[in-house]
Symmetry: C2
Subunit: 246 residues, 2 copies
Amino acid sequence: MTYCVGLRIDKGLVFMSDTRTNAGVDNVSVFRKMFSWSRRGERVMTLMTAGNLATTQAVVSLLDERSKAPVDRNPSILEAPSMFQVAREIGETLREVINSNAMSGQTADSAFNATLILGGQIKGSEPRLFMIYPEGNFVEANGDTPFFQIGETKYGRPILVRAYDPAMSFEETVKLLLVSFDSTIKANLSVGLPIDVQTYETDSFEIGRQQRIGADDAYYQSISTGWGEALSQALRVLPDFTFADG
Amino acid sequence: MTYCVGLRIDKGLVFMSDTRTNAGVDNVSVFRKMFSWSRRGERVMTLMTAGNLATTQAVVSLLDERSKAPVDRNPSILEAPSMFQVAREIGETLREVINSNAMSGQTADSAFNATLILGGQIKGSEPRLFMIYPEGNFVEANGDTPFFQIGETKYGRPILVRAYDPAMSFEETVKLLLVSFDSTIKANLSVGLPIDVQTYETDSFEIGRQQRIGADDAYYQSISTGWGEALSQALRVLPDFTFADG
């Protein structure tokens, strides 16, 4: 499993992904699930991946044009005129990779599927955030649905739904996301540290802050241990229940 | 879908269940999913059900001995010498109902499956809480795992894991459970109000408080609207994040 969140705030975009991949509980590895392409001053694009690792690695390699010699590489997503076009190219690549495995007659429990979150900005338009499905089609975030989750989405969703505020700073957003990730990590063994986080500030046209947060990170530990007490305190603040008959 | 929680606290047992059943999003009904049997002064047993409604209704009817004329009914679970034995009888009934449909050659998407939570006390032993699987086997709650959830369990789990305290009063437990239910109801359309709640006080050998909480319940509304603000406040209490490079 996996947990990734891409989130739009007034200031820009924030991406967070875990790094655990597993094929069964006894075959666990650490792989980065966040990838970026940029041309400073002109465009920044970040991709997060959930699903079959062979599929997602193949997609990223094809986007990087790793099938060509290093000198000949000129990723077409760095030339696409709009984020919509980038999403379309990535969606097509994803669908082709999945199909090339499925069509070969091979079968696998996980069906080679993968789901992606793409966010970024190309000069001339606003930052945009997309979720790309295994079928190659995609949806875009808007004001009503300002974030996308992929992977194990349920445990960490209530806090995002309740506490998201577009006016948050990048630091507040990272705090919110870490609480969401901590709830997920505590509930699902297949989501694990370290966590990658990246920010993009609107109209900066360069990758913002990037950080990897490990299990020994003092701040993460303070969130992880402090959130239980903060929740209990929040519960105490709510009015007390009384039974109707008493 | 469904959401039910059975929970052990020092004072006794608390049960909460939603009432929504659905076969697709356009075929939604209200059905009670909480059932009790008791002999005042001697035993109390409460059952909550998730899964195929035909299966769970058949199980409850068979336990009630509704296949007999009303005067001949003498439910054997009211005679069983222990909660373990009650769980075994209910598990066998559940397995037989599921098998009788499956064996007939019929197939259905949901495979006629159901999962149950059983809690109660019989004079001479402690209150006990079980989760019963479609296969008819079951597990019992203990100090490390003091509650069971069935149905749509993920959205409402983090708050239970973080805020559960065996020393809670019945009222505090209901408040905690309502927050867990509210998170689930906000996230999954197939879990819906009204909510049934029931308590059992250790060694009382009678059903405790029972209440149905509807969408127009003022307390539920105060929890539902207040929890967002309480969560945001809890988040503010946590230390602020700072990026490592700045």
